[in-house]
């Protein structure tokens, strides 16, 4: 029950942060500022939950706590897509201006890529998971090579638009998208939630999981696709946030000494809400928008990552 207490405390903290973010310095602007802030908070909650869920699941499947699903090259694909659209169609084209169209194109591209990618790999039998990751990274490097090439050629004014897409931002999320995303994320997680106990078994390793009747290979494939879709939605909604999932998942492992995914995932989700809403508040009030949230996240996430690596090796 101690885990439940911790969860409640964190949830309270998240609610408090959301409240502060929504109402601090509002100056009675209930009609204008409040709905805008509301949409932002909504987007942060959604992104936080999607990334937390995808990362914890992904780390369980890969038996590795220092990986994030974006390592599969999805971030780079997203950037390539944006660069290509702006390069060939221009920054005023409908696919860039219209958020909904861009959202749908981005998700479609990332999901199709992930599916093709897994298909290709699983057709050759069951590859070790690290092999799969390495190939993902190569695709990522490949996408980046092409993006960099195009970015250098792009007109500097157009590049501003590309640059905006490089960094995750909650500042101009449209309200329609948030509802679409809510629907998809909600349905996916509702369907996948019952697999939590199977995921618990998965942490015992493949042999033990198979022994206990978990359909290991099928579950792994299913969860890989699920985490790719969730990451695709989060990325298309706000932009690439590489390290974020890594931080919140590991904070959750440290905070809750549990093996139960229902606890770990909920914990990670609540921690992400606290971090995103708190971080965004800091960016807006302390840095007065002079930097972006994702840069701060990557910075702190990176340092935390090295700390994790060194700590992990010391404990063994």
């Amino acid at each position: 029950m101690r885990d439940l207490h911790k969860l409640l405390i964190l949830a309270g903290l998240a609610a408090l942060f959301c409240g502060v973010y929504l109402f601090h310095d509002l100056n009675g602007s209930f009609d204008y500022a409040l709905p805008r802030r509301g949409i932002k908070v909504f987007a942060m909650v959604l992104t936080g939950v999607a990334i937390a869920y995808a990362t914890v699941v992904f780390q369980t499947i890969t038996h590795n706590r220092i990986l994030t699903p974006s390592i599969m090259g999805l971030d780079s694909l997203y950037m390539l897509l944006q660069t290509v659209l702006i390069f060939f169609l221009g920054s005023s084209h409908i696919t860039i201006i219209n958020k909904q169209v861009n959202f749908i194109i981005s998700i479609a591209a990332m999901v199709i890529f992930a599916l093709l990618f897994y298909r290709l790999l699983f057709k050759k039998g069951n590859q070790p998971i690290y092999f799969l990751l390495l190939i993902g990274i190569i695709f990522g490097t490949f996408f980046e090579s092409v993006s960099t090439f195009l970015q250098v050629l792009i007109d500097p004014n157009e590049f501003q638009v590309v640059q905006d897409r490089m960094f995750a931002s909650f500042n101009n999320v449209s309200s329609d998208l948030v509802w679409t995303a809510l629907l998809v994320i909600g349905v996916l997680i509702a369907f996948a939630w019952k697999q939590n106990s199977s995921l618990d078994v998965l942490t015992l390793g493949r042999d033990t999981a198979v022994n206990l009747g978990v359909n290991y290979d099928a579950l792994v494939k299913q969860m890989l696709v699920l985490s790719a879709v969730l990451i695709a939605i989060a990325t298309a909604l706000v932009g690439p946030i590489t390290f974020f999932g890594l931080i919140v998942a590991n904070l959750s492992y440290q905070f809750f000494k549990s093996y139960k995914h229902s606890v770990l995932i909920t914990g990670a989700a609540v921690i992400s809400i606290v971090a995103l809403v708190g971080g965004q508040w800091v960016v807006e009030r302390v840095f007065t928008f002079n930097t972006t949230l994702s840069v701060i996240i990557n910075f702190i996430g990176g340092i935390y990552f090295i700390y994790l690596l060194l700590k992990e090796s010391r404990s063994k």
Partner: protein, 316 residues
């Protein structure tokens, strides 16, 4: 992969490289020392060729040395954070010493490359779990952190597109007077060759080398210093060339094994040939424009690397 195939290939490609370009130059033009053609030849074509040869040989050798010392076939300047550290160094020198000379920039970039590579090797030493594919993952993550730091400062200084342009590998800007720094790699080659046997022994492990009476630490340090020197000079003069240090040593290793003194010259030559080929293709494909060398190597390299992975898993 015999020398008698490599050397003619190198010579033929070098000639092709000299006479491919926007302004056509024939051999006869060169006899007139005052002609425009001769000037282009001396100012642009010849330096370009030399730069390609040195960079190609240098990056593949750097990769070979790193792979030997880390005892992992997937480690290279691209997958160990060396390139990203160099980038950070260049940014720092751009921001702090805007009017610095090439040599001063070089010194800063070198210091960062060295520090980054050492840091990576330190992390590697402390990690217990040494799966062949896990280590490059760690390296890539490490590189991600460094580049997030780079992005943080580049964003604030608004030099992101500038940085992209700077770091994109590109030989078209190579002119007399801008590439001479690359000659640093010549003495580096010689030192590397002298130390080749010792690197081979060091590659068999610390205990093994101590048993043979070798100063393991200092050998590793010398190796890493060489790698950092080569990487820093190449990135500064040419830009980032992905994958080269990864693929070339692996190909040579398949055919010739891992005895460094025997494989070093082959690796250097094949690296130069591969880069020459990519450069010529890049110049010919969309003539009279050029595809940057980063993109060419990124694309061709990705495919070769994937091929190697799929084909020779047991080997890796």
């Amino acid at each position: 992969m015999k020398k008698r195939y490599l050397i003619p290939a190198l010579i033929i490609l070098s000639f092709v490289s000299l006479f491919v370009g926007v302004s056509s130059i024939s051999l006869m033009d060169l006899f007139d020392f005052q002609s425009e053609e001769t000037q282009i030849f001396l100012i642009s074509r010849l330096p370009r060729l030399v730069a390609i040869l040195l960079a190609g040989a240098g990056m593949s050798m750097a990769g070979l040395i790193m792979q030997q010392l880390s005892r992992n076939k997937f480690v290279s300047p691209t997958t160990a954070g060396t390139l990203d550290a160099t980038r950070l160094g260049i940014l720092v020198s751009m921001l702090l010493f805007a009017n610095a000379s090439m040599i001063e920039k070089m010194a800063v970039a070198f210091a960062f490359a060295l520090a980054g590579t050492f840091l990576f090797m330190q992390i590697l030493n402390r990690i217990k779990f040494k799966d062949a594919i896990f280590i490059p993952l760690v390296g890539l993550m490490f590189g991600n952190i460094l580049s997030s730091v780079t992005t943080f400062f580049a964003y604030r200084a608004d030099v992101i597109q500038n940085m992209s342009a700077w770091l994109q590998g590109d030989f078209s800007m190579i002119m007399k007077g801008s590439y001479e720094l690359l000659y640093i790699s010549v003495p580096v080659f010689i030192v590397a060759y002298i130390y080749a046997n010792r690197f081979t022994v060091a590659g068999m492990g610390e205990d093994f080398s101590k048993n043979l009476g070798l100063k393991y630490r200092s050998i590793v340090n010398i190796g890493l210093t060489l790698v950092a020197l080569i990487t820093a000079t190449v990135v500064l003069t040419v830009g980032v060339i992905p994958f080269l240090g990864l693929i070339i040593p692996n190909i040579i290793s398949i055919f010739k094994g891992d005895h460094l003194q025997k494989t070093l010259p082959h690796t250097a030559m094949l690296g130069a040939i591969f880069l020459l080929l990519c450069d010529i293709l890049g110049r010919v494909l969309i003539f009279p424009y050029e595809i940057s060398i980063s993109l060419m190597v990124g694309v061709i390299g990705s495919f070769i690397f994937l091929f190697l992975l799929f084909r020779g898993r047991a080997y890796a």
